[in-house]
Symmetry: C2
Subunit: 334 residues, 2 copies
């Protein structure tokens, strides 16, 4: 179980460990062809592989970045993570993924632990409450970027969907097809900017379309039963913009429970695409976001920072697109 070290290789090849180190780092001018060959043989013979930890300690770079997401169950998160990993691996970096379940405490813990682990940078979908902590990171010049959300007054760059436009597209789609009773289903908006932006856009659009807002804001856990009650009372609107995939799940569960016909009795348009929306019966019309693009943009901004460019701040917006399927009813008088 004894691990073989650079010293063992040096000894085997009859050179100093400095030379082996040079060899390992490709500084071949530092040795003759014979020595080089001897070292190569020694490495092979001993099946040596360098201790990444020791390297990191000396180099002060771990070649690792941390990714902290608020809720890994969102399809969006998994796609962002995937794109970040692809990019990072392509650049010789590794990724540690952490899931906060939207808890600020967990988030703070993870940040601390990732700092302790000396990760070289962080991409995070932040919860709302660690403003001071992020502020500190930003001030230290530590490389961090946000995705999907941002924190007011914290000078950390964010990459996110144009939420306003996404709701607008949903609203327009519904409206074009004759809908005048358009509700909005979301988990409690709280301080989560992405939700806030979507909700605000909804309210604003209701205003400009002269439509009475019907918003259903309820915790995911109670969502099914709460929706069920509304349905029982007949207070469910004829069409619903759903704020995200997880809420859509709950809505669909309720619809099944109560045998509600989609789109005949209820039209649905949901934000963020998911695979099953396509083959569900009926197919769910959706406003999709370019998750891979967003993730890639975020991580490449992060890499620029890690290579010394100044911490940018500001928000970069990405445009959503409509995927029309079958969950929206067409009113005839259109």
């Amino acid at each position: 179980m004894k691990n073989v070290t650079i010293n063992d290789v040096a000894h085997e090849a009859n050179v100093s460990k400095s030379t082996v180190s040079h060899y390992l780092n490709g500084h071949f001018t530092k040795m003759g062809p014979d020595t080089r060959e001897r070292i190569a043989r020694a490495v092979r013979k001993l099946d040596y592989s360098p201790n990444h930890i020791a390297k990191s300690l000396k180099n002060k770079r771990t070649m690792t970045i941390g990714v902290i997401v608020a809720n890994i169950l969102h399809n969006f998160s998994t796609r962002v993570i995937r794109s970040i990993e692809d990019f990072a691996h392509g650049h010789g970096y590794h990724v540690i993924v952490c899931n906060t379940d939207n808890s600020s405490d967990k988030e703070a813990d993870y940040i601390r632990m990732l700092m302790a682990k000396q990760v070289d940078g962080l991409v995070v979908i932040p919860t709302a409450k660690n403003e001071a902590l992020f502020m500190e990171l930003a001030e230290k010049g530590y490389p961090v970027v946000f995705v999907d959300r941002y924190i007011e007054n914290v000078p950390i760059q964010s990459h996110m969907l144009d939420n306003r436009v996404s709701v607008m597209m949903a609203f327009d789609h519904l409206s074009e097809r004759g809908h005048r009773e358009i509700g909005f289903l979301t988990e409690p908006v709280e301080a989560i900017v992405a939700r806030q932006e979507r909700y605000d856009a909804y309210l604003e659009l209701c205003g400009s379309y002269g439509i009475r807002p019907i918003s259903i804001q309820v915790e995911k856990e109670g969502m099914v039963s709460s929706l069920d009650q509304s349905a029982a009372q007949g207070s469910l609107p004829e069409s619903l913009i759903v704020a995200n995939d997880l809420a859509l799940f709950e809505l669909l569960k309720m619809a099944k429970q109560r045998n509600i016909l989609i789109p005949e009795e209820l039209s649905i348009i949901s934000i963020d695409d998911i695979e099953f929306a396509d083959f569900f019966n009926p197919g769910i019309t959706v406003i999709a976001q370019p998750a891979v693009e967003i993730g890639t943009a975020a991580v490449s901004a992060l890499f620029e920072m890690m290579n010394g460019s100044k911490n940018a701040s500001g928000i970069e917006r990405f445009q959503p697109y409509l995927i029309e399927r079958e969950s929206v009813k067409q009113y005839e008088d259109q």
Copy 2:
């Protein structure tokens, strides 16, 4: 951006770094109450947190385990990962997750990099081909456990579903409801034990029930179109046992494309539960596996190894259970 080290704390508190180290590790007998207080203050004042890398180098424990899964898109994988993370975090460990996409090369790469990173142990859903590599790990006494699969002749313990029973349950369920035309849908079995076991069980059961085997073995990428062809030719059986969730997706896509009624025209029973199976129309009857239990058992076995107990080998089996929904037709003459 200069990071504060134990030396800075020592200096601030006017003690040696040894004493600070003792303080940090709770060896309070090594100092008086006043010194202790001084160090505490210094730590707070400087906002010091220990460099995990340096610690790891010295201690030869990184408090990190690696998890390598063959395909993170399986719901089973995500649930296993989740349970491993929960357990690990509960014991002060961190987890690095890697996805091999079923590529043995990627797997070998990941193993090497995780070793280089000095992770303290590994839980892996292995691809079939790195027998030699795993053999080596096992011989070195390096802590490794398998999940969901195993490799013949490699003395590494595995925790997996009783695949035979799971197919048996599916088969019985179908058979009890009068089905005599029972097919089996799977990605190519190849050398992947879990698939093999399920397929073998299917074949065996066909034998003992006197049913003609109809197996559809096709790559996920071509699955929809291949199924579509079969359907066009009318060669699709009346009921299908589906080997896993990803195959189920493809089947459902095809069913939608062709407007096949489930269960009237096609009965489905799938192995491994997924959330949407519940609210899909119709609900998909499923043989579920206790993923959390499996993951937890695996990681706790790993922890035992890491604490010095010998590498166990052998296979621990977990029992599946039926979740009956609406995707299986009941023939009337039963």
